[in-house]
């Protein structure tokens, strides 16, 4: 197993742990405007995904991501399955050549495209898109325009997602179950945007830990999240 594959598995595991810890928080947010199942759905789905990817032997990054997505699709009910899981499955094809700046940007863009197409939502609809759009755009710009290493681009993307989550509070839902509330959805933080932020935060924290452990300073700047192959694998 390559170092990259191990890293992606670790990320899936960490996301599962984080969402389990946030289960009640997400459920509370969803109780206010939806059907109160987002916390349980996300925690259960990612726990199953972590188990599924753990069982993969000798595989590549794209397969790990695809397997996680497939598991979410089968375990998470309602709209979250296709939005979180289906989008991962489609975007995983962008990682066929491993993790590089280019493939990561392509992955993020495809993921966003699938979510917006499937959910037919745009920024300002009080959905996960409000966190995702600024995150993906910031990531792409930080890499392609500002020439930042991927890990720093990801840190900026997380900041942008956080502002996106805050932006969902004062606006009115026009997509998703909360849209049935009309003006009553104003003042509520969107659960989907929030769980999206948790996933991105965990991706950043886990990658940072691994890079620090690998003495990230010595990593080639053009592909900062592509450590050497592990000879033990």
């Amino acid at each position: 197993m390559t170092e990259q594959t191990a890293a992606v598995k670790a990320v899936v595991r960490a996301i599962a742990e984080r969402l389990e810890a946030e289960r009640e928080h997400l459920t509370d947010l969803d109780s206010a405007i939806g059907d109160a199942d987002h916390g349980g759905n996300m925690a259960r789905g990612w726990a199953e995904a972590a188990t599924a990817v753990e069982d993969l032997d000798d595989t590549d990054v794209a397969t790990v991501v695809k397997t996680a997505g497939r598991t979410l699709m089968s375990e998470v009910g309602g709209a979250s399955g296709p939005l979180y899981g289906g989008s991962l499955v489609f975007a995983s094809a962008e990682l066929d050549d491993g993790l590089t700046d280019e493939t990561l940007v392509a992955f993020a863009e495809t993921y966003l495209e699938k979510v917006t197409d499937r959910g037919d939502a745009a920024v300002g609809d009080q959905t996960m898109v409000d966190a995702l759009v600024p995150a993906v755009h910031t990531f792409k710009k930080s890499i392609e325009v500002d020439d930042l290493p991927a890990i720093e681009a990801l840190a900026k993307a997380v900041d942008a997602a956080e502002r996106g989550v805050a932006f969902t509070v004062p606006i009115r839902a026009s997509k998703g179950r909360a849209s049935y509330l009309g003006w009553r959805s104003v003042g509520h933080q969107d659960p989907g945007a929030t769980s999206t932020l948790f996933i991105l935060e965990t991706l950043l924290a886990t990658t940072r830990e691994r890079l620090d452990a690998d003495l990230a300073s010595s990593v080639d700047a053009t592909s900062p999240v592509t450590p050497e192959e592990d000879p033990e694998a």
Binding site: M73, E75, G78, L83, R118, G119, G176, S179
Partner: protein
Amino acid sequence: MKKLINDPEDVVDEMLDGIVAAHPERIRRLSGTGVLVRDDAPVDGKVGVVSGGGSGHEPAHAGYIGDGMLDGAAAGEVFSSPTANEFEDLITACDSGEGVLAVVKNYEGDVMNFDTAAELVEMEGTDVATVVVNDDVAVEDSEYTSGRRGVCGTVLVHRVAGAKAAMGADLDEVQRVAQKVIDNVGTMGVALTSCTTPEKGDPTFDLGEDEIEVGIGIHGEPGVERTTHTSADAITDELTDAVLHDLDLDEGAEVLTIVNGMGGTPLMELYVVNRRLQELLGEQAIETWDTWVGEYMTSLDMAGCSITICSVDDELKELLDEPVDTPALVKP
């Protein structure tokens, strides 16, 4: 609320096994899924017609699996969409190579899971066409909603698309007639009581002894208006007017009508409603070509009914006259 169940967790699973046990020569279950298909699926040379959605609406949708209607149906948990994987398995199992029409009710989860599945099976080379049913006239398409809900009119879409497929039509034609029904059908419902889900065990919403909820969906979600309970005739007038207003029919138009029970209302009362419905149509010079009264798409144990009116032309009448042989709907 007393229910004839075991563990609420197992209710859908046990129901599906029970359906197969009732029709072992006709229906089989795809192992490990909530998908039921015709025993002989995929039918050689025929376009597949499939549907699905949350459970709790029986006989929809598995009750409509059979000759002249559906090749298969996916059942999710109570009032929850099946997963995209289940829709994928369903479409794949019903594709003979001629393609598959998916009939989806307009609920976010159903639509997204079906779309995701369609995209995945298309990558594998299966042709999929989708129609989205949105016959509920209660909730207008506005900035407040994600469009109109799909309810009892869906059964007519299954019926017409299934008949067209059985006649050997290609996927485009099957999709066209399905869409024709959607363009010409409207439904409005009323609840006299809430439904009670097996998991929760208590009513989903509170409705006073003297209250009714007009314009309800099929999941115990709120309607458009809560009013004081009145007579069958007054309620029928209100539902019928709303549907007719939406359909905007010409004098002399021919229609098929459905008085559909929501799960907890005796047939006696549905006939009382139907009597008034037919009177009203007669007064407005609308001709009833066919009448259905019974339970076609329910909401667990909710008391109440919905009224569906579908405008029919020669083509739809011909398709609705075709034979059908399913657990819930039979016409020789």
